[in-house]
């Protein structure tokens, strides 16, 4: 409620948007606004210029890369679009499954994938999901286009590899190969609520990838656990053994819902559950 004064522009093309973002100090891209507008209501941050990406229809598409190896999700694709996308259903259904648990219908209708990852709130759903899936992020600026891996992309809370004057345009997620299973597990504050701890696992012939949310300013890969599971034994006992010590290796933040010890514990439990479910799904 009651925002500070701000200027507003709604460019028609990506080029125009990038120009606006680079020309104005204190300009921010406005995607779905489901975080940014709320932060502005709290006056915790006050951009000088909002560059509304709503008319950039080219960022609202879900398609396949030329070689069909990746699903390309435009930064302005809403969660609702992800949920109902036949491309997602075929190529990486976990994306739709997770999108359907983000907040509520109204927020899913407006909130975008690009906005969610650029905010990189540690409790958000997409950062650990995309880190586990090995997504790449395409960033455009006046000087051209570059890509970043998830490791490079997520820098800190509210900070990503997208720097001033740049725009995230799309996120590429490898399509699921046969024998791959993905799962997200975690503890939320009430149904579909904010994550207190989360973990995403993907199990495939190439091994296991596990990314944790809520435990740091960026998604954290559970590398030791991944290595221990490289042998392919994904029995419950093996997965639990592999996760041992995971909590102790983390330095999670404390807040009103979980102190560091409990959050670390929840992260470990979530990792086990995500891997077990992913393994189950990998069997088909």
């Amino acid at each position: 409620m009651l925002l500070r004064e701000v200027e507003y522009a709604r460019p028609a093309t990506v080029e125009e948007a990038i120009t606006l973002l680079s020309e104005h100090d204190g300009a921010r891209a406005l995607a779905g606004g489901q975080t940014l507008v709320n932060v502005m209501k709290a006056r915790a941050a006050s951009p000088d210029v909002l560059v509304d990406l709503a008319d950039l229809t080219e960022l609202r598409t879900i398609s396949f890369s030329a070689d069909q190896s990746a699903l390309e999700i435009g930064a302005m694709v809403t969660n609702t679009m992800v949920i109902s996308s036949s491309e997602v259903e075929v190529a990486r259904p976990i994306l739709a499954e997770v999108a359907a648990t983000i907040a509520d219908v109204q927020i899913r209708n407006r909130g975008t994938v690009g906005g969610n990852v650029c905010v990189n709130d540690p409790t958000n759903h997409y950062p650990p999901l995309l880190a586990a899936l090995g997504a790449t992020f395409t960033i455009r600026s006046t000087s051209g286009e570059r890509t970043a891996s998830a490791e490079e992309f997520f820098v800190g809370v509210y900070v990503t590899a997208v720097s001033e004057g740049e725009l995230l345009t799309k996120i590429s997620v490898p399509t699921r190969k046969p024998g791959t299973g993905d799962a997200m597990a975690g503890i939320t504050l009430g149904a579909h609520g904010t994550y207190v701890a989360s973990a995403v696992a993907t199990v495939s012939s190439e091994g296991v990838r596990v990314a944790l949310g809520c435990v740091s300013s960026v998604p954290v890969r559970a590398m030791v656990m991944e290595e221990r599971l490289a042998g392919g034994d994904l029995s419950e006992a093996a997965v639990r053994a592999a996760a041992e010590g995971l909590a102790a290796s983390l330095d999670p933040p404390s807040d009103v819902h979980a102190n560091a010890e409990y959050r670390g514990h929840l992260a470990e439990v979530s990792a086990v559950r995500a891997v077990l479910q992913a393994a189950e799904r990998a069997k088909g």
Binding site: A42, A44, P47, V119, G156, V157, Y158, V159, S217, D255
Partner: protein, 153 residues
């Protein structure tokens, strides 16, 4: 909120001390410093824009040196005022070590009030950890520079 840790630095205590005891050098460590003014030996003021991704948080921070025992201990207080946030931080550094190696044990008690404090509660600690990491990385660079400069003379 209390944060603390130990940073190992490859320089003598004297070199490290010269960096952390110099307000101008310290200013260079802080993220987003836009202006800096030394009021007197014990007081200085910085205008910073903490980069918070969603828009910078502008703050005026008043520093006061509380205690110093060269070259092993220093503490100071920083009071920040910005629209939407008030910060009060007491921080201390204890240096130990031999020769060209220094262990810096640091601790900070950070209090943030105002909308940013209440709104950002669940992300505040990660943000502070992140800022601390930035400062320590910058410190490492400054210390290396100072050591090189000292060795050059």
């Amino acid at each position: 909120m209390n944060v603390n840790g130990t940073k190992e630095l490859e320089a003598s205590r004297e070199v490290v001390w010269s960096v952390i005891n110099d307000p101008a050098q310290m200013a260079g460590l802080m993220p987003g410093v836009e202006g800096f003014e030394i009021k007197d030996e014990r007081h200085w003021q910085a205008k910073v824009k903490v980069p918070l991704g969603l828009g910078g948080l502008k703050m005026t921070i008043d520093f006061e040196k509380l205690e110093e025992r060269p070259p092993e201990f220093a503490s100071m207080n920083a009071k920040g005022k910005g629209v939407g946030a008030l910060m009060n931080m007491t921080t201390s550094f204890a240096l130990s070590g031999e020769g060209d190696h220094t262990s810096m044990a640091w601790a900070a008690d950070v209090k943030i009030a105002g909308p940013v404090g209440s709104m950002g509660q669940r992300v505040l600690q990660p943000i502070i950890n992140q800022q601390v990491e930035n400062v320590l990385t910058a410190l490492e660079v400054k210390v290396a520079e100072a050591r090189a400069a000292a060795e050059a003379t």
